[in-house]
Amino acid sequence: MRRPLATLAVNGALLVLGLVTLAPLLWMVSASLMPTGEAASLPPRLLPSTATLEHYRDLFGRLALGRSFRNSLILASAITAVSLICNSMAGYAFAKLRFRGRGRLFAILLATLVVPPQVGMLPLFLELRLLGLVNSMGGVLVAGIASVFGIFLVRQFALGIPDELLDAARVDGASELRIFWTIVLPALRPILVTLAVFTFLSAWNDFMWPLVVLTEESRQTLPVALANLSGEHVQDTELMMAGAVITVAPVILLFLAVQRQYLEGILMGSVKE
């Protein structure tokens, strides 16, 4: 008799926690479809009386949010591609190639993980000004070219590549770079997919650095544009919810599509050295 009761309690609690977790997101979608003014009506409405896409049309038309959407897409993709190449090369070298100072260098890199990104932000801004990269996509990109976390993740995975495979290729006369390209990269594919999703999500969601670097409105990323918009259109609830949906939808969909690899990547990253 105790067992059904416990089952009910556990699943009931999960249901409540799940609903509380999803409520803000569900309300966001619902309110984004309401006619103007309906989200702020009494008695409260949870669903739109008639669903309308006018706010989405407004955002992409009059308010030119499509531009920011494209900026975010280009920037997040570029950061993902570039950092994937750099991190996989470095991670593999740390895992499988012997050279003097390898252990010490890797330890130094890991130690930099404790430094919060804000510490280098101001001088990096001055440095970019010197290089003429302020207010350019390149300025945002440079901070994401390589990541210690990415190198660490690739290294952990690359340690599992059998040495025999690499040595056999060497005996056959393949160059080190050729080995990297034809043997190592395909072997790293699972971790590279995980890392790609990881990088894309955090580049898409990043706020502080694009806010600092991209001053011109036409170059802003979606989160920065949304933050600005919400300053000007505080009263327009439904419009802001549509903006939030546009900002969130790509990353949620991407996450749902590859959640398995993504969550495994988190666990791999959380395993301590």
Partner: protein, 303 residues
């Protein structure tokens, strides 16, 4: 070739050269766009670099620890520091409890649809912070917000969540709790799965109940994972920036001004870059100290 033969520094010159070629792009980027700026930040924090120096760096002068001592005398800094500590002090335990509670539920053998719940609880983590802040600003609306509607249904008085200095900080803590508990949850579920079943079987044979199993087996076995999640949560909370930036701009009456937001304002709004760099290093020191505490606790426990 035996694995043991592959000792460090033992590679052929050719292999070492290949390694450095592969490492070069990543190392160069980290040196140029991370290490150099961090060292530059240290130097910057010892100067009076301001708007005039932005125009012409020769205007900057060395002021030693002047920026740091000035911070000590700045009531706004103390307010930001107090807020951040309160933010971590409230947020970390709440987030940890929510993550642990959720993880125990998801891991429970009585739970149905475990995979789906794990995904649901993780969804806020991937949600863009700015979008979440925009949504929560409306959920907190004193008249039309869902939260106050809920309070009303329970017969409780409405709260001016973001307009009242006493509530605004808590409002931001609650939002951050919503957004981040799923991260710890996923890690803790994996930690729970790693505890051997035989321990629980032995405990059940000894007649241990649910609570006894939790306190004598689950929590002790889970403590390294808990420690890791604690550090992760704490470090993240110390850097809180976008939530107050979007929802309250640090107000009302600096009630939600965080150290990172204060740094941003000093640096990129008033261009007091020297002062802002000093704030960044204070934040760094705080994070170091805060992550040293759980690490020391962990060492003591593992003897």
């Amino acid at each position: 070739m035996a694995k043991d033969g592959r000792t460090l520094g033992n590679g052929t010159p050719y292999e070492a050269r290949a390694a450095w070629i592969l490492l070069a792009p990543a190392l160069a980027a980290i040196a140029l766009f991370f290490a150099l700026p961090v060292l530059g930040g240290l130097a910057l924090s010892l100067t009076d670099f301001d708007l005039y120096a932005v125009a012409d760096p020769t205007n900057a002068r060395f002021v030693g620890l002047g920026n740091y001592t000035r911070l000590l005398g700045d009531p706004v800094f103390w307010k930001a520091l107090g807020n951040t500590l309160l933010f971590v002090g409230l947020g970390a335990p709440l987030t940890l409890l929510a993550s642990l509670g959720g993880a125990l539920l998801v891991h429970s053998r009585l739970a149905r649809l475990r995979g789906i719940w794990r995904t649901v609880f993780f969804a806020p983590v991937v949600t863009t912070l700015v979008a979440a802040a925009v949504v929560f600003r409306y959920l907190y609306h004193p008249r039309y917000g869902l939260l106050n509607r809920g309070l009303d249904l329970l017969g409780l008085p409405a709260v001016d969540w973001l307009g009242d200095p006493r509530w605004a900080l808590l409002a931001i803590v609650l939002m951050s709790l919503w957004r981040s508990f799923g991260y710890g949850l996923v890690i803790l579920v994996a930690g729970l799965a790693a505890i051997p079943d035989s321990l629980y079987e032995a405990a059940r044979i000894d007649g241990a109940g649910w609570w006894r199993q939790l306190t004598s087996i689950t929590l002790p076995m889970l403590s390294p994972t808990l420690l890791f999640v604690t550090v992760l949560t704490t470090v993240g909370l110390f850097q809180v920036f976008a939530e107050p930036y979007v929802m309250t701009r640090g107000g009302p009456l600096n009630g939600t001004l965080s150290v990172a937001l204060f740094m941003y304002q000093q640096g990129f709004r008033w261009w007091n870059l020297g002062q802002a760099a000093a704030i960044a290093f204070v934040l760094f020191a705080l994070i170091l100290a805060a992550s040293a505490v759980p690490a020391a606790l962990g060492r003591r426990r593992s003897g």
